[in-house]
């Protein structure tokens, strides 16, 4: 295989956003498109999403996009850019219908329409009560989206480079000219020249010990662009999903509560009634996860170590559980030996989703600074990106919505740009940075082990920078991350081979992951307020006067630098967030 490639549009990542972007780019007959993915496309983590995709179709009860936009903004604790939320709430309706037209097998209402159910933070009439907005396919909605989009890519004859790891981005003269990738099968380095590059490579949850995220989610591109001087927006806002399986973090959908599931402490009390009297168990995730931590901290956790909460589905008709929640029922049975039909399931908050990411405009163009300076030829969509739809806390179902809405936009805008742009030259030394990166890992002293550093990173991030944060622990974690960065320089790998050197890739991924941790802890330490998923015990209140602004974290010679970007406000004045 040739190691130099040229496409008008390159998509990095083959999950929901990447496949959607590729589809839309490929619809433009004037441009050539290829997708680079470090996994086979169907292995992408979009497939693990369960509960649904929120869109105000109104199939089950009255609903409007205005309500969805408001819920998204309030759910994001007013850090959401309001123009983005409004566009999204309309666009996602069209996108869901489009998925159905592609054959996606949604569950159905008795009339044969797309079925919808309740989900956290989604309400009617600006917060009056929970509304059925989540369009679902049993509890495997993400799986069906991923399969459907992959099926369409076969139909469209999309070109894939599977098991290729993107390790560098070609940022030359202020514009993006493509990427450098490592081919896992051969160990060869490839140069992909492109007029437009769309980054859609997913999240970074593997920096935490307990996570719902796949092993592959190591924040690669969040680090690749950061090393090249592009900032990361709002990384301090990291979502912990309330219902992860105890100790292993595997996700149990919020749809379980949408179907009537109840969270209980060791006394059997439905404690969410105290924290969110109106919508109770269907409060947004940041609030539920915090409430669970507080219950445990105050001695009301269940189990021998009083360290978990119970998700109770036993009062729900067994038939409904088997039909609408089959996968999570199986997870509880297999991994914990607990049958949700008969007994409550032990759960704990699990690291789930990065609200922040590579900053983009509403049109998915990657930006460089607080003045929205665009990097020509570079686009981002999905969890890796931050158009600031989710603000300080994402509502359940809005991640799948994000993938399809922003994937589409990225495909459209990137191909349109590529149509008129010219290929720019790639310098001869373009691969040097990547070669050096691989050499260091291959020929390092090996006095430090990759697995040891990764384990320490994950454990310390969980202890010091997860649901509740304090000045003391964040400062401590900054120190730990710096130490781990230094120790990382001494790693080595045993496998010196060229073919399927998965050990080498794990080593490189760990380097990326540490960068992601750095972004998060510096931004978290810097933000002296509590907002959404960032809950700071020394600064317990939201502080709109000083902190109604986005963080931008830069990596520079001298160290980490922090800057800001204004929040786009609109119809909805920031108000106290009660449910």
């Amino acid at each position: 295989m040739s190691r130099a490639h040229k496409y008008d549009v390159i998509v990095v990542g083959a999950g929901g956003a990447g496949l959607m972007a590729a589809r839309y780019a490929a619809q433009n007959p004037k441009v050539s498109v290829a997708v680079i993915s470090k996994l086979y496309p169907t292995r992408s983590h979009t497939g693990a999403a369960q509960g649904g995709v929120g869109a105000a179709l109104g199939n089950v009860s009255e609903d409007y996009p205005e309500w969805h936009a408001f819920d998204t903004i309030k759910g994001g604790d007013y850090l959401t850019d309001q123009d983005v939320a409004e566009m999204f709430a309309y666009d996602v309706i069209e996108s869901v219908i489009e998925l159905e037209h592609m054959g996606l097998p949604f569950s159905r209402t008795p009339e044969g329409k797309i079925a919808q159910r309740k989900f956290g933070g989604h309400t009617r009439e600006f917060g009056k009560s929970a509304v059925e907005r989540a369009c679902y396919a049993a509890d495997r909605t993400g799986h069906m989206i991923l399969q459907t989009l992959y099926q369409q890519s076969i139909k469209d004859n999309v070109t894939f480079f599977n098991e290729f790891h993107v390790l560098d981005i070609l940022l030359i003269g202020g514009e993006c000219r493509g990427v450098i990738a490592y081919e896992l099968a051969t160990g060869e380095i490839h140069t992909f020249q492109a007029k437009s590059t769309i980054v859609a490579s997913g999240g970074n949850g593997r920096m935490f010990k307990i996570t719902s995220n796949a092993h592959a989610l190591t924040g690669d591109l969040q680090s690749v662009v950061y090393r090249r001087g592009i900032p990361i927006e709002d990384p301090e806002f990291y979502q912990f999903h309330p219902t992860g399986l105890y100790k292993i973090g595997v996700l149990l959908t919020e749809g379980a509560r949408g179907e009537g599931g109840i969270l209980r402490n060791k006394d059997g009390e439905r404690f969410m009634e105290r924290y969110a009297p109106t919508i109770k168990d269907l409060a947004p995730r940041d609030m539920v996860s915090r409430s669970m931590y507080l219950e445990i901290r105050e001695g009301r956790g269940a189990g021998p170590d009083s360290d978990y909460i119970l998700l109770d589905l036993t009062h729900i008709d067994a038939h409904i559980i088997e039909e609408r929640l089959p996968d999570i029922t199986e997870f509880a049975r297999i991994y914990l030996g607990v049958d949700p039909i008969k007994e409550p399931v032990p759960i704990q908050p699990t690291a789930h989703y990065a609200m922040g990411g590579i900053p983009t405009t509403i049109d998915t163009e990657v930006i460089m600074d607080g003045q929205n300076t665009i990097i020509p030829g570079l686009y981002a969509a999905g969890e890796v990106a931050c158009a600031s739809l989710h603000g300080a806390n994402r509502l359940g179902t809005n991640s799948l919505g994000d993938l399809i809405v922003f994937g589409r936009r990225a495909g459209r805008f990137a191909s349109k740009y590529a149509e008129s742009a010219e290929f720019a030259d790639i310098p001869k030394d373009a691969q040097d940075f990547t070669k050096n990166l691989l050499d260091k890992a291959l020929n390092g002293s090996g006095t430090e082990k990759v697995a040891t550093i990764r384990k320490e990173l994950q454990a310390s991030m969980m202890d010091n920078a997860s649901v509740f944060r304090t000045e003391e622990f964040l400062t401590k974690q900054i120190k730990i991350v710096k130490e781990l960065q230094n120790r990382y320089k001494q790693i080595g790998v045993e496998d010196k081979g060229k073919q399927y050197n998965t050990e080498l890739m794990e080593a490189i991924e760990l380097g990326f992951l540490i960068d992601n941790a750095e972004q998060l802890v510096y931004a978290a330490e810097n933000r002296k307020e509590s907002r959404g998923a960032h809950s700071h015990e020394n600064h317990k209140e939201r502080d709109d006067a000083n902190w109604l602004k986005h963080t931008l974290v830069y990596k520079e010679e001298k160290g980490v630098r922090i800057d800001y970007k204004p929040v786009t406000l609109g119809k909805y004045e920031p108000k106290p967030r009660v449910y």
Partner: protein, 232 residues
């Protein structure tokens, strides 16, 4: 608890033929086999190679032959296997390194059945309606994660690598029985070819191997029957 793990290994850059490597280690009985393999890679032998991602049976990366049965390493616990664990790559696909096999022939068969929605009618402004009953008919086959546990457990596939295999048939079933789809005739013709559907000898291995509990043999029989009905 202590487990003895034997893994069939092969490094194309160093080995002439595959060999069994043995590892003895302390694990928890609630560990997934994937956790055990990770522990070997991370603590004992970094060169051990395999695919994995989601670690809870959804992505389909880590199909392996474990104690004689095709399974996902992330969906079987140590306590269900006991102290002796033997792991080999899934059979019938070329081994590239250790537990990594060439998945291309598998995906080629999948692509051959036109595994995408076909409906040439103008798109309605809303969703296409489908009754809950019609949706239920093909529900099980939508669960497929393309892990290849079924196809690589099929004795017909072992002897004839060109047999299209159960996974491809399940994915054809998913569309043939979807009331909204119009491509059934085309797919049935493809399945009617010499390396298609009729090679199935109902050995049932596929159904037993499926980590998603898809009744695969039943699906294959339904497609066979549909083909006969349409021919008649």
């Amino acid at each position: 608890m202590k487990v003895n793990v034997k893994i069939k290994r092969f490094n194309p850059e160093a080995d002439k033929r595959p060999y069994w490597a043995e590892y003895s280690l302390e694990v928890r009985e609630t560990d997934r086999v994937l956790d055990v393999i990770n522990q070997i890679k991370w603590e004992m032998d970094g060169s051990l190679s395999y695919r994995r991602s989601c670690a809870h049976g959804i992505c389909g990366s880590d199909a392996m032959l474990i104690n004689g049965v095709n399974r996902l390493a992330c969906k079987i616990l140590v306590r269900d296997l006991g102290e002796v664990i033997n792991i080999e790559p899934i059979r019938g696909l070329p081994v590239l390194k250790d537990l990594i096999v060439d998945m291309e022939p598998f995906f080629d068969s999948y692509k051959a059945v036109l595994p995408f929605f076909i409906n040439e009618d103008p798109e309605p402004p809303t969703e296409r309606y489908q009754s809950a009953e019609d949706r239920e008919i093909f529900d099980a086959s939508t669960k497929c994660i393309l892990c290849a546990c079924c196809t690589t457990s099929c004795p017909v596939f072992w002897t004839n690598g060109r047999y299209i295999g159960p996974a491809a048939i399940v994915n054809a079933h998913r569309f043939i029985f979807d009331s909204r789809d119009q491509g059934a005739d085309e797919r049935l013709q493809i399945l009617n070819q010499s390396n298609g559907l009729w090679r199935c000898r109902t050995a049932y291995n596929c159904t037993e191997a499926c980590p998603r509990d898809i009744p695969i043999t039943k699906a294959i029989e339904e497609v066979k029957r549909e083909l006969l009905w349409r021919r008649a």
